[in-house]
Each structure stands twice: as C-alpha cells, then as structure tokens.
C-alpha cells in the first residue's frame, strides 16, 4: 500500500479532478437528468395528480371515514413500533458496541436480517406462526386472540421490518466512540446505569434522533409486509399505503394521489428535519464523532 503510494508522481497528488470540462459536464448532466427522471418527476406527478381537481377534492380525500381510520391506524402503528425499536435498538447496539461476548456476529447478522429479507416473507412468517393454520393458530383460536388480520399483526410486521434502523445507525457510532469515557465514569464511581445515562446516551443523541426519524418514516410507509398480514378490511386494518392502493384500484385517482402526497410529504419533512439537525448541530455532531 505505502510503496504504491510512493511510486505515484508527486505532481498528481495535488489535483483531484483530471478530466476535462466536457467530460465533467457530461457526467454531471447524466446525474442530473437521472435524478430528475427517477426522483423529482414521479414526486411532482404525485402532487400534480393529487391537486388535479382542486383543493376541495384534495381535502375530501382525508375527510372520508376509511381514510381517517387508515391515518389513525398508521399513527398508532408508528407510535408503538418506533418506541419499541428505540428501546431495543439502543439495548442491542449498546451490547454490541461496548461489550465483547460470544455470538456477537450472529446477533449483528440477526439485526440485519429484516433488511435482506423480502417484505412479503416478513409478512408471511407471521401468517405461518399466528395464522389459523399456523404454529400457534389453534391455541390463539381457543383463547380468542386475533393477531394477524388485526392491529397486533400489523404492528408486529412493522416492528420486524423497521428493527434494523436504530441499531444499524447506532452501532458504528458507538463503536467509533469506544469505551474510554464509560470506563472513566465507572472508575470515578458511577454505576453502570448512571454511566449509560450521563455518558453514552448524550454522545449518541443526534444519531439516535436521526435513526428514529428514518424508522418512523419507514414504519408509516411500509407496504409489503403489512399488506400480507392486513386482510385489507376497510376502516379496520388498512394503513395509509394500503389505502393508496385501494383507492387507485377503484379509479379514485385524485384521492389515491392525495393520500400518497401525505406519505410523500412525510418523507420530505423527515429529510428537512434531518438536514436542519445536521446544519444546526454540525459542530456538536463533529465533536461527538471525534470523541476525545
């Protein structure tokens, strides 16, 4: 590695870009056109379609009973799934980043699993476990507990799909920060809990907030896994993304895109808040990243 660097002509080390102006313009142009076609245009289309018949038609999409119930269910699902993943994500990354133990790699792999598994499978595993024909089906039936095709199943599927968001964000951050500060706190007589609250948590708070934002966006937007366990009962088990599909299939395009614009708006707000955080607290985040 070092010998390869040494043989490089020293003159080239200074200039970062060696391509000509035309090549640069071409590459930037391709990137911009690509972004416009695949990101900006579809996003703009959502809003254009949503407002195709004016404000009143747009607002009517949200006053309808089924839409309200979908909004309520989506908020409820996120309100359960996000705090759950917050607590367990912190616990998992704390254990992984600050301690050495057997099976650590296995744990990391397990946390990553929902990222690599298709959402349809994430939904189906719950049908196979909790469905009437599933592993626990007969027992649940006997005790009159409805998991899938009801709110608990939707929450479970959402938690599963969004599980890696908090842990994946925190593990590298915590690992980079190392254990020196915690060790110092413990040496000075702090209890483990005290050290966690006063040393670890403040160090990771911006990363934590960021991951919660992402986790929330995905929890509200998840389609595949939730679609499998929902049963699509109107006014009862339809979340916002499922409601968008139903409206679209009923040729109700304005309402469909209006609800879609709500989800797109959520994503935009998430990005905005994230950028604001990065801009406002950039110094502190950098300090946190440098650590000591």
């Amino acid at each position: 590695m070092s010998s390869a660097l040494a043989t490089r002509p020293p003159a080239r080390a200074g200039s970062v870009v060696t391509e000509g102006l035309a090549v640069r313009a071409l590459l930037i142009g391709i990137a911009v056109v690509f972004l416009a076609l695949f990101l900006v245009l579809p996003l703009v289309t959502v809003f254009i379609q949503a407002f195709a018949k004016g404000w009143s038609a747009y607002l009517a999409a949200f006053t309808e009973a089924d839409a309200r119930s979908a909004i309520r269910l989506t908020l409820l699902t996120a309100a359960i799934a996000v705090p759950f993943n917050l607590v367990f994500g912190i616990m998992a990354s704390w254990a992984i980043a600050k301690f050495e133990f057997r099976g650590k790699n296995l744990l990391v792999t397990l946390i990553d699993l929902p990222f690599s598994v298709s959402p349809v499978v994430s939904g189906l595993i719950y049908v196979l476990v909790f469905g009437a024909q599933g592993l626990l089906g007969p027992w649940l039936l006997e005790h009159d507990i409805q998991i899938i095709f009801a709110v608990p199943g939707i929450v479970l599927a959402t938690i599963f799909v969004t599980f890696p968001f908090v842990a994946r964000q925190l593990i590298p951050l915590m690992q980079e920060q190392g254990t020196a500060e915690e060790e110092a706190a413990l040496t000075l007589g702090a209890s483990g809990w005290h050290a966690f609250l006063t040393v670890t948590l403040p160090n990771i708070r911006w990363g934590l907030l960021y991951s919660v934002l992402l986790c929330n966006a995905r929890a509200m937007g998840e389609f595949g896994a939730v679609s499998v366990v929902s049963g699509h009962i109107r006014g009862l088990t339809n979340t916002l993304p499922l409601h968008v599909e139903i409206l679209y299939n009923e040729y109700n395009f304005v309402a469909s895109f209006a609800v879609a614009s709500l989800l797109a708006g959520l994503a935009l707000v998430t990005l905005l808040v994230k950028s604001l955080l990065e801009w406002r607290f950039s110094a502190e985040i950098a300090a946190g990243a440098r650590g000591h």
Binding site: Q133, T198, H232, I246, N249
Partner: protein
C-alpha cells in the same frame, strides 16, 4: 467532551430521562388504544364480508341498503365491513383466520377450498341458500379499444397473431379462471368436443398474455389505465364499469356469441359467526341478497339477477342476450374442474411452462 461542565450534564440527563419516559408513555398509550378499539368493536354487531375483486362498488351499495333495512326491522345498528382482493387470495385469508362472517367469492371452488382446508364452512354449503348459493350470475365479455381496431368478435379472434390479451392469473383470480374455462369451453365445442384441441387453443391464448395480474381489478387497471393489450376478457360487470368510468369514447364492449355461465357464490362462515355471535345478522345479510331490493341493485351494477322481475327494465336491457354454457356440463363437478385445470401440475401449469 470530558471538559463539559457538570451543570450541562445534569440537564442532559434530565432530557434523556424525559425521552425515556416519553417513549414508555407512547408505548402504553398505543397499547391502551389498541385494546380499546378491539373492545368497542365487540359492543356493536359488526359483519365482515370477504369478497372478490370487482364487487367493490356493488357491495358499497348493498351494504348501505342492508344496514338501513336491518335498522328499520330490528332497531339495531349493524356495521358491515368489506375486504376485496383476488378471489383465491381472499379464500386464503379466510383459511388463515380473517374473521369473515360471510364470503361472497368469484367461483365455487374457492368456497370449497375454505371448507376443505379450514372446516369453517360445511361441505354442503351449496344447499344452505337458494339457487346453490348464487344470488346472481355473470358472464365473460370483451373490452376492446375504441373502434375495435383488431377486429375482435369472438373467442377465436383472441389467438390472432397480433392480438395481445390481458387477463388475470387463474391461480389467484376467479375472473382469471372463468376466462380460462370460457376459452376452453368455446374451443371444445368448436373443435368437435376434442379436449386436446381445446387445450392447445388455451395454450396459444396464454402465450399472447403479456401481464398476469393477481386479480380482475389489477388487469382492468393494466388495460384501461396503463394502456397495455388489445382485449380484456373480463366479468361483464367489470367491462361495463370501465366503460362508464373511463368514458365510452375510449373503449367498446364486445359481446361474443357464446360465453360461460359464471357462478359467483355466497356462503356463511359458520365457525366464525358462532364464535363472534353474529349468526343472526349474517344470515339476514345473505337472505337480503335474494330480496327484491338487492336483486335490483345487482342488475344496476351489470350483474345478472336470478329474479329478473325485481330489476328495473332499463337495467335488464343492459344485459345482452348470448348463449351461455355451464362448465360443469363439459368437465364434470367442481372438484375435478379445479384439480384438472388449476391445482399445481394442472392444465394451466402445463400450458404456461416455458418450451423445453
């Protein structure tokens, strides 16, 4: 970081504690409201009708009419909820435990499947309601682009070399199965009752299908909204719905000389209504489908009512006369029809296998 004053640390700690308390509060609030919603659901009679794909608009009107009539008759306010999807996948959700009180599906074999795999519906469900559980029937007609540029008049025209056909997957969709069986029945009669020639005809037809959606509504959107294909063989009611919804200047409905007698049956899910205590309301709901009021609504939505006298003449006039054949007369009982054509390794699987 280590130089941060103690005061700052304390306030941070307080913030962190608040964060923890907040999240715990959110969790418990969420759980509480989840419990509450399931609690209120039991206080009032609530029916769930698990139905197939194209009946969305139909049951919106039927349900409202039933709620009104039930209120007038008994004073009780009943809620009727609906879930729609491909008939086969809807049957699957009932098998997997969705608490459906009644099923109104697209083809008898889907109710047979629920009965066989979950025992929630008795095997003799056909005998429980009038007309073998069929409050209405339907058939398959063609939706084509305005002016019928490919000249599609009959089933035989679907295999013309330049014609692209849009039809749903027979594995998941009842409409897809009726299309399959209608094409088969047409070729069987045409080719002097040769099953081999009928198989070959259907095989050729499915080679000209660019997209297999999971439900009839998915195929409609593919054809009408995305503009794919030249002809959409579909439920009569679905064809006229598109005709009315997207404007008559974009499409034409072509009624072939012969088509299939399509039987979308309804049934009570015995095990579920007994568990939920909704048998009375669910039975009344199914009986209501045979009432004059419901029969008139069927005709209005381009379904074929079994009591024609209950329907308005202008609605009956929209149901064209054509020769309808019953697939049972050609292929035997429904167990055989389902097994031979659509189960794993059946005719559809053999035909859709890529050439070796």
């Amino acid at each position: 970081m280590s130089s941060t004053p103690n005061v700052r640390r304390l306030s941070r700690r307080r913030r962190v504690l608040a964060l923890c308390a907040g999240s715990v509060g959110l969790v418990s609030a969420g759980l509480a409201s989840a419990l509450l919603t399931s609690g209120t659901a039991q206080a009032q009679a609530e029916l769930l009708n698990v139905s197939y794909d194209p009946t969305r608009e139909l049951y919106k009107e039927i349900n409202a009419a039933f709620i009104e009539e039930w209120k007038a008759k008994t004073g009780e306010t009943v809620t009727v909820r609906a879930a729609h999807g491909g008939s086969g996948s809807q049957a699957r959700t009932v098998i997997d435990g969705i608490p459906a009180d009644v099923v109104t599906l697209g083809i008898p074999s889907d109710i047979d499947a629920i009965s066989r795999l979950s025992k929630k519906i008795p095997a003799d469900w056909r005998t429980k309601l009038p007309n073998e559980g069929l409050p209405y029937t339907s058939t398959v007609v063609f939706l084509v682009r305005k002016g019928n540029p490919k000249g599609v008049k009959d089933w035989g025209d679907l295999v013309k070399p330049d014609v692209k056909v849009i039809t749903p997957n027979p594995k998941t969709s009842a409409g897809g199965r009726w299309n399959f069986l209608a094409a088969w029945g047409y070729a069987y009669e045409k080719e002097g009752k040769s099953a081999d020639k009928a198989n070959a005809f259907v095989g050729q037809l499915y080679k000209q299908v660019p997209v297999l959606d999971t439900g009839a509504r998915g195929s409609t959107v593919t054809f009408a909204q995305r503009g794919l294909g030249d002809v959409l063989p579909t439920w009569e009611n679905e064809a006229y719905l598109v005709f009315d919804e997207f404007g008559r200047d974009k499409f034409d409905v072509v009624v072939p000389p012969t088509s299939i007698y399509a039987e979308p049956p309804v049934a009570l899910v015995d095990a579920n209504v007994d568990k939920k205590g909704t048998r009375k309301q669910a039975e009344a709901y199914l009986q209501f489908l045979y009432s004059d009021k419901a029969q008139a609504i069927f005709a209005k939505h381009h379904y074929r009512p079994i009591k024609r006298e209950a329907a308005k003449p202008e609605h009956l006039a929209q149901l064209p006369e054509l020769k309808l054949f019953k697939i049972e007369d050609l292929q035997g009982n429904w167990d055989d029809i389902q097994k031979k054509n659509f189960d794993n390794g059946g005719l559809f699987d053999q035909l859709s296998k890529p050439p070796q």
